[in-house]
């Protein structure tokens, strides 16, 4: 009895802690500024899309949105290709150098990427890669390779050698083995890694902040920091930006809850 009551209480509190802030944002984006301070939690009296109209008219959010889409998609696809190549190589090497390569990439998991920002900045300035979306893609790939390779190698190692051997006897090349066996079998792991990468790259602030200053090159999280300053007195505008920036993730989460949860926890625990 005591357990049941405390369970219900604990679950209700946490549920409220998630739902109320979410409603504040959703409702807030459809409210006038006056109303959001007056009745922050209640639904809007007059639903209005004026905030959205104003945001798209006055700000560069469309550009930032497109930058985020381009950077995220390219980073995820390229990381997946490079990481699955490397993992396949590592998993197929039997002698000690496979272990060494794996250890080398795993080293990256122990060093938080944020500690290297000074050298990264210096390097990017020297090669003229600041304020460049391809530059941002490059650093995203480098920083997410360790975790991706870690997860994919673990999976590729589980594929029985006999599969490869019988294909080799039939004359399949290494690339053919990679494409027709490893990739085919690893679809669930690949999609888990893809989702994990998608979320962290879409949401990342550190690298854009470090490398991008030009307005038309900014990604969403970086532009949102500007809106925070610009609309400091207008939380309904800020929440409208939060809605626009989060919507792609929310739609994907609602559609693919299971893969999202699996991908984000796999990436988290192994990273």
């Amino acid at each position: 009895m005591f357990y049941k009551v405390s369970r219900l209480f604990a679950l209700s509190v946490f549920t409220a802690l998630i739902i109320i802030p979410s409603l504040v944002v959703v409702f807030g984006s459809f409210k006038s500024d006056l109303e959001i301070y007056d009745r922050p939690v209640a639904p809007p009296i007059d639903w209005t899309i004026a905030n959205y109209q104003r945001l798209f008219r006055d700000s560069n959010i469309e550009t930032s949105f497109m930058n985020s889409v381009m950077v995220t998609l390219s980073s995820v696809v390229l990381t997946l290709i490079l990481a699955s190549f490397a993992s396949f190589g590592i998993a197929r090497i039997v002698h000690a150098s496979g272990k060494f390569l794996f250890a080398l990439f795993s080293l990256g998991l122990a060093i938080p990427a944020a500690t290297s920002i000074i050298a990264i900045f210096e390097l990017f300035v020297r090669f003229n890669l600041t304020n460049s979306l391809p530059g941002l893609v490059l650093i995203n790939i480098a920083s997410t390779l360790p975790v991706s390779i870690f997860i994919l190698t673990a999976f590729f190692k589980q594929i029985p050698n006999e599969l490869y051997e019988s294909a080799s006897i039939d004359g399949a090349s290494a690339f053919r083995l990679y494409r027709s066996i490893a990739l085919q079998l690893s679809r669930p792991s690949m999609s888990a890694v893809a989702i994990f990468l998608f979320v962290i790259i879409w949401n990342d602030l550190l690298y854009p902040l470090l490398l991008i200053t030009q307005q038309d090159k900014k990604t969403l999280p970086l532009s949102m920091l500007d809106y925070r300053g610009e609309y400091s007195t207008s939380f309904s505008m800020i929440f409208t930006a939060v809605m626009v920036a989060s919507l792609p993730m929310i739609i994907m989460y609602v559609m693919m809850q299971r893969s999202f949860v699996a991908g984000l926890t796999a990436g988290a625990v192994k990273g």
Binding site: A114, A142, L145, P146, F260
Partner: protein
């Protein structure tokens, strides 16, 4: 096939990490030639830098709060939602939800909720008559670090809960049945079965949460930029601010080295403690 990944990783991950060692021995503003100063940065930080000591203390407090409460809450909710009922599955999905948001969005949501005048939190405290709890959450030197820690816990508890649920579902059901036959209460079952069986998962969760708390750059930067008066400044934000607001690149590189050493030390200690107990 490993070569392309290896090239990018070595040049943009390992090389910058190693460069830190070199830069940390210099005095350098990022523009002119670095000047070699030996270990002076390292000794200065420990003997003659109040800010560094303060940030070290902040980071310890922040990480302790986050690790203890996030691990505790995620285990608590995991045990409550471990059964695959419809309601449990729904609540799991809901609790996991903040994980997919960006730190910047989360920072803005909580900046509104924490607002001293119209924020939902103070409105709530005043409503139930606890006016003394209505603080200036992101504006006072005593409350800010804790307010951000709470946001971080809110942000990631659901994610760690899912990790715990996966671990809990591995525990053989017979153990609980046997305990029940012996008349064990719920709490006794937790102590005798769940806790020892889940210890390996706890080790993973705590190690990850520790590292995650050190990496909380996005959240702290978007909420307060380390303020007011550096009261919410932690290592990652300090490194960024030292380098890009004060242009002391060599000194910031030194701070990075200390941060890595500190993380390795902490995760090493955790691993040892949890292994010997287990």
């Amino acid at each position: 096939m490993t070569v392309p990944a290896l090239v990018i990783y070595s040049s943009l991950y390992l090389y910058p990490a190693l460069s830190n060692l070199r830069y940390s021995l210099t005095r350098w503003d990022g523009f002119t030639e670095p000047e070699f100063v030996g270990l002076r940065n390292f000794t200065n930080a420990l003997t003659n830098d109040d800010l560094f000591t303060k940030v070290l203390g902040n980071n310890v407090e922040f990480s302790l709060l986050v690790v203890i409460f996030q691990t505790g809450f995620s285990l608590l909710f995991a045990t409550m939602l471990v059964k695959n009922t419809r309601a449990s599955v729904f609540l799991r999905t809901l609790y996991f939800f903040p994980t997919i948001l960006s730190s910047v969005s989360v920072a803005m949501i909580w900046a509104f909720l924490y607002d001293p005048n119209f924020g939902a939190i103070n409105v709530f405290f005043k409503f139930i008559g606890l006016d003394s709890f209505a603080l200036n959450w992101l504006g006072s030197e005593t409350a800010t670090l804790r307010a951000i820690a709470f946001t971080q816990i809110w942000f990631h508890t659901g994610q760690m809960m899912v990790v715990y649920i996966a671990g809990l579902q591995q525990i053989p059901q017979e153990l609980y049945e046997a305990a029940e036959v012996d008349g064990a209460t719920r709490w006794q079952q937790f102590k005798a079965v769940t806790w020892p069986m889940i210890l390996p998962t706890t080790a993973v969760v705590m190690a990850y949460t520790t590292i995650q708390s050190f990496r909380a750059f996005d959240l702290v930067y978007a909420m307060t930029q380390g303020g007011p008066n550096n009261s919410s400044n932690i290592f990652v934000t300090l490194i960024y601010l030292t380098a890009f607001n004060e242009f002391r690149f060599g000194y910031a590189a030194m701070q990075s080295i200390y941060m890595i050493a500190f993380i390795l030390f902490l995760t090493g200690v955790q691993r040892r403690v949890l292994r010997t107990r287990y």
